[in-house]
């Protein structure tokens, strides 16, 4: 494929930080002929020094392929991968100052915990004293000092995870790649490890590229998130930007709960776009995507950005009947069916009686126009 200018959105390498990793029009296909699959389609992305960037998307979106290209396990069909300004796209993995934490940890079963951690340094030909010193420091960093001589199959999942992290961090790579490393852990351990990973990143100052399909994990840990789908990057931004200003229907739908419904865009102005909602009400919506023209559009709003009002209340933007109320501890999800059949979910403290008419008001500035 010709390395033409990418059409996917690039992240802003802002805040004066140096760019550590840059993918430029990277394309990767697998298979041949009719069974050919495009895993990455002209992907461009910049990742800053000391940044925690998450590649987020459903399985098969290409996020792991992008990670493997940076690690060197796959070679790109087209495009460039730059590390610290140097093109590394065609170097073998052992010549890249990049280390990976594997989803299955991939600890060497015939070596002790300490030997696993020291393996990278040993292969780099560092002197034995340095290997021993760094190994001890890494064991302390992941709080596994007591386990140095254990065999890896004697460790719990969480402990194996720490060893895998220590092993990948020991050679002090420029970039640490993490391929869904938390997916095998149970919920509580996963929450601990999320905090732990953030701590490790702060303490080591290493750039982390983290792959996950778990949007909550991405929102919790990342400095920036790149949302991927079907081999392309749809949006790059801080967790707040991604959550509150999704540019496309896919991003909005993938991150958190959101209500999406059809509306008609009347005109765009300095304060936003005026849209006609189902039921005829008008509202002002934010436009973040380029190229939105008057006509039928999709608008989106999060359940927590709306509240229930009386049906006849003037502030209500849309009206309907309460269909179902789902209690989840800190509140209720009230399902409201609009006159045209659209179902809208509103987060609310008071439940309201089923089948009673109700109005829904929007918090100002929260309604979004989406790019389809």
């Amino acid at each position: 494929m010709p390395p033409e200018r990418n059409r996917t959105e690039t992240g802003q390498p802002g805040q004066g930080k140096a760019v550590m990793v840059r993918a430029d029009g990277v394309t990767k296909t697998f298979g041949r002929g009719a069974s050919m699959v495009t895993a990455l389609d002209r992907v461009s992305l910049s990742i800053n020094e000391n940044e925690f960037l998450t590649l987020l998307g459903p399985s098969g979106c290409g996020k792991t392929t992008l990670l493997r290209l940076i690690a060197g396990f796959e070679l790109p069909d087209a495009g460039q991968i730059l590390l610290d300004g140097q093109e590394i796209g065609h170097l073998p993995p052992y010549q890249r100052p990049v280390n990976t934490v594997f989803q299955s940890y991939a600890l060497f079963p015939h070596m002790s915990v300490a030997r696993n951690i020291g393996f990278g340094l040993e292969m780099q030909g560092r002197p034995a004293s340095e290997v021993a010193q760094t190994t001890a420091r890494m064991l302390a960093l992941v709080r596994m000092e007591d386990m140095a001589d254990r065999r890896t199959d004697q460790l719990s999942g969480g402990q194996q995870q720490r060893v895998a992290l220590a092993r990948a961090l020991a050679p002090h790579p420029k970039v640490l790649l993490l391929d869904e490393p938390l997916s095998a852990l149970d919920l509580k351990l996963r929450k601990n490890m999320q905090i732990e990973l953030k701590r490790l990143q702060n303490e080591t100052g290493i750039t982390f590229i983290f792959v996950t399909h778990d949007q909550e994990e991405a929102l919790t840990m990342s400095d920036r998130i790149a949302v991927m789908s079907a081999g392309r990057i749809l949006q790059v931004g801080t967790p707040k930007e991604i959550y509150h200003r999704p540019s496309s229907r896919f991003v909005a739908d993938f991150i958190g709960d959101i209500n999406i419904f059809a509306a008609t865009l009347e005109k765009t102005g300095p304060d936003g776009a005026t849209v006609t909602l189902p039921g005829g009400g008008k509202a002002v919506a934010q436009v973040h995507a380029a190229g939105v023209v008057p006509g039928p559009v999709s608008v989106a709003i999060r359940p927590e950005d709306m509240h229930l009002t009386a049906a006849e209340d003037k502030s209500a933007a849309i009206r309907g009947r309460i269909g179902n109320v789902v209690y989840f501890g800190s509140g209720n999800n009230v399902h409201v069916t609009l006159a045209d059949g659209t179902e809208v979910i509103v987060r609310s403290n008071e439940a309201g009686a089923v089948d009673s008419p109700v109005g829904i008001a929007f918090s100002p500035g929260k309604l979004q126009v989406l790019e389809d």
């Binding site: 052992y94 015939h110 004697q154 969480g158």
Partner: protein, 315 residues
């Protein structure tokens, strides 16, 4: 961190698992019984006869006379003078052992060098294609070894395919003499026993998690280091098994050295067979067979002691 309590739970679990494993091991022992019975009747019983015969005197027309004698063992190392019955040391039989061990060893190394890449290749194929490759590996077994060895004979003899090509293409003016040399036996043995090397190697490599290979590459190991530090240690059980399966039958090989070695240079197998045939010295044949067995067992013990260490954990 909650991991402290998790580790003790894991320890307890591991201990419980070890206990239940020992019960299961006892139960598995019962599964061994049918095989033990077969080996008892058809293995131990003949072995007892062989051991007994080795301490008897040879009968004139074969068979044994029931007179105790250690002559068979003495004969192995010493030559009795025909006229005055004095013993003088002779290394002719030790040399046969030496040649057999050497040839079996070279065959084992050769089969390992040829078999390892083959097994690795098959193990790295997608699972649905592996059976086809394994089937191809076992294909030679469909034909009798004798016939296959004759086929090799026809290929490597002076008027055979190889020399036809060499002379015909003008690379050589005279045929290359391969048949009835040690290299011919070597070729024949490698060909015959290669599958016994490939199959256990494959069984080990197939269990190898290729993510470990990637992890090693990722941690700055070059191709050779990955092979030496990760793949070979993890494939060790297969290497040990494959080497044993090639070395032992190689040591006692009969058909291949007879047909391809021309019987000029004896190997253990031919020598023993000759004692029961033309030489009509059953006690000496029995003694030689027992000595061969002892050599094999000693070699095995030394080999497994030295190389089994790493493999035991991971197999």
């Amino acid at each position: 961190m909650t991991d402290l309590s998790a580790s003790t739970v894991a320890d307890n679990l591991a201990r419980a698992r070890r206990i239940s494993e020992s019960t299961a091991r006892r139960r598995r022992l019962q599964l061994l019984m049918p095989a033990l019975i077969v080996i008892g009747i058809f293995g131990l019983f003949p072995l007892t006869i062989t051991a007994t015969y080795s301490f008897l005197s040879p009968g004139t027309y074969g068979g044994v006379r029931w007179e105790f004698s250690t002559d068979a063992y003495v004969q192995f190392l010493f030559q009795r003078d025909i006229f005055d019955d004095t013993l003088s040391f002779s290394d002719s039989y030790l040399r046969i052992i030496g040649r057999s061990v050497g040839l079996a060893f070279v065959t084992t190394i050769g089969a390992l060098i040829l078999g390892f890449p083959t097994a690795y290749f098959i193990a790295s194929k997608p699972p649905n294609q592996r059976n086809l490759w394994l089937f191809l590996i076992t294909l030679p077994f469909w034909t009798n070894l004798l016939i296959r060895t004759y086929a090799i004979l026809l290929i490597i003899r002076d008027e055979g395919l190889i020399n036809f090509a060499l002379v015909g293409s003008g690379l050589r003016s005279t045929p290359l003499n391969i048949l009835y040399t040690d290299p011919a036996v070597f070729i024949g043995l490698i060909y015959s026993y290669l599958p016994f090397m490939v199959l256990p190697l494959y069984a080990s490599l197939e269990k190898l998690d290729f993510k470990l290979v990637e992890a090693a590459y990722d941690l700055y190991a070059t191709r050779l280091q990955v092979l030496r530090r990760v793949i070979i240690p993890l494939a060790r059980p297969g290497i040990v098994a494959g080497c044993i399966l090639v070395f032992i039958p190689g040591l006692g090989a009969y058909i291949t050295p007879t047909l391809l070695g021309g019987g000029k240079k004896l190997m253990m197998g031919n020598m023993i067979a000759e004692q029961f045939g033309a030489s009509r010295n059953w006690p000496f044949g029995s003694a030689a067979a027992l000595i061969l067995m002892t050599v094999v067992m000693l070699a095995l013990v030394v080999y497994v002691r030295n190389s089994g260490q790493g493999g035991r954990r991971h197999g």
